[in-house]
Subunit: 330 residues, 2 copies
């Protein structure tokens, strides 16, 4: 029996469908999906849509798998090799690509957004998006390279320096990775969590209090968190706009005079570049950013509904989905 994929046909719901396996094109690789990560963006994609979503779509932008088949021109990869997939496909020619910001490529195709992703047993991707896993890195841990890549991009754009004070709004998977990556880069870190349930779950979280941050990152889609982060920014501090906001809340009040007199920065961060994926895999493999304890659930893909509820209620941390695991009655 063929394993089904998850397909979003219209915003608000999804269905399980058996999809044909696409043989890889000349420069492509067919990947057997071993595990795929679920993140809040997937919830958004399914429930309310996303700027970059093109329907119908198999979601899933966090994929680790094994090489199942190789295109005619592909070199340097072996069948059965374990790989992580950088979720973007970029043109390499536009101004953003030439400036080393392929995440802003004019023709960017994101796996799970513009092209089918990992919520199914197989996914076909360009060979240049594929990175072999470092030896000894567990497959499940490697999935966190995707959110960690986005975190590394955010800290790079926030120009975080060793010794600086990093304030993070949110203590979910992204907020936790931001704190761990920040410490790996030599910063002191502090998480604030606006959500009471998650705050109670995690415990020991501080409030911003009198703190003054050199870099602040907002990892919750909450206008109030942005307002608070702006109020706790040091002179020359950088606030990273890491989380999008719902259209109704898209314009938090910003005092331009505050930015002016304090020479503060607001800087957006969206997604990640290929090099961030490489850096993230290395940081996880070398345990500079430990992630194993962040995996709270590993569920069959067939239980996506339950997994989405866990994300929605912030009842879990990182949730992994396995398209091959049989659904068992629990």
């Amino acid at each position: 029996m063929r394993m089904p994929s998850v397909q979003v046909v219209e915003i608000g719901c999804f269905e399980f469908r058996e999809m044909p396996v696409q043989p890889p094109g000349d420069d492509e690789v067919l990947i057997r999906v071993e595990v795929t990560g679920l993140c809040r963006t997937d919830l958004k994609i399914i429930r309310v849509g996303h700027r970059d979503l093109v329907l119908p779509r198999v979601p899933g932008e966090e994929v680790v798998g094994t090489v199942e088949a190789l295109g005619r021109r592909v070199q340097g990869l072996a069948l059965g090799e374990r790989v992580y997939v950088y979720p973007g496909v970029w043109c390499g020619r536009c101004p953003a690509c030439r400036a080393g910001a392929e995440n802003l490529c004019r023709e960017m195709q994101i796996m799970g957004f513009h092209r089918d992703g990992g919520f199914g047993p197989y996914v076909t991707v360009p060979a240049k998006s594929v990175m072999p896993l470092p030896d000894g890195l567990a497959t499940d841990e490697a999935v966190l390279a995707e959110p960690l890549s986005c975190v590394l991009n955010a800290l790079e754009l926030g120009r975080l320096q060793p010794g600086e004070h990093l304030g993070i709004w949110g203590a979910g998977p992204a907020g936790t990775l931001l704190a761990r990556a920040g410490r790996a880069l030599g910063a002191r870190t502090q998480n604030m969590e606006p959500d009471r349930r998650r705050r109670d779950l995690i415990g020991g979280l501080e409030t911003a209090g009198e703190a003054c941050f050199d870099v602040a990152v907002v990892a919750v889609g909450d206008k109030g968190a942005y307002r608070e982060a702006l109020a706790h920014l040091a002179p020359r501090g950088r606030l990273v706009v890491f989380s999008g906001l719902s259209p109704a809340d898209d314009q938090p009040a910003v005092s331009f005079n505050q930015l002016h007199y304090q020479e503060q920065t607001l800087v957006g961060a969206y997604g990640c570049c290929y090099r961030h994926g490489q850096a993230a895999l290395a940081m996880i493999a070398e345990a500079r950013v430990p992630v194993r304890d962040m995996i709270s659930h590993r569920l069959p893909l067939a239980k996506l509904d339950e997994a989405l509820r866990l994300v929605e209620t912030r009842a879990g941390m990182k949730i992994l989905l396995d398209p091959w695991q049989k659904e068992t009655t629990s």
Copy 2:
């Protein structure tokens, strides 16, 4: 007869007063003011006040003069030497000073704001704020080192790179210096001028049209200019908040989702550091940034009222004031 100074006793007006000449302290220098520049900030100081203004005050933060007397411990300066005065006095110990951003010093004292400035025949300043003029640099031209310093700070914070496209809102003295400094740094530049009178005066100014700027600098205190600049920012573009806004207009609408998806930056710039003064003097002396043609008026300080009207109506470009020039009937 002693020459009078301009003193602001209460916001809204100024008076001419004969002030005692302060003999320099051990680490200070008494400067005979040869010429002082008038800028829009002086108009603001006198008419509506300013965050950093402490009354009563002799304004004037753009000063070129000659050394009239030296404090006991001062070395490396000669009587009669022509000097430019960096308008800030900084502590050297606070986090901002240690980070090379003394313009944000916690104890910053700005000449003409916190301490008396150059709208009078003499001014007493710390020796460490004083820079001898490069040989051959005209006294009147050297005054423009102050606004040019602020421009260099803004372009540094905007991280302008050679070959980039720089959009400047405003074509007054600051806007003109931004364009010339931008070109000296290898950028392509374009000025937009919201003020119809100045636009007619200068001629040949473009509108932003379809332009997309890597760096945009708003050099007019106009909320609409900020809105327009945001709409013409390239992916990863940087908008420099160079001009303060009146409190009622202090919060132009900013789409955080735009910053997020385009990885754009809003960054404030305020004043300048000592090193910007040195760089500005060199750029003017070497004619990398020509300024002579920007001096539209040279008036006796006694005609400050007339000079302020010229600033207010944007009828002139750079206006210089001479505290020693006799008021002549015109």
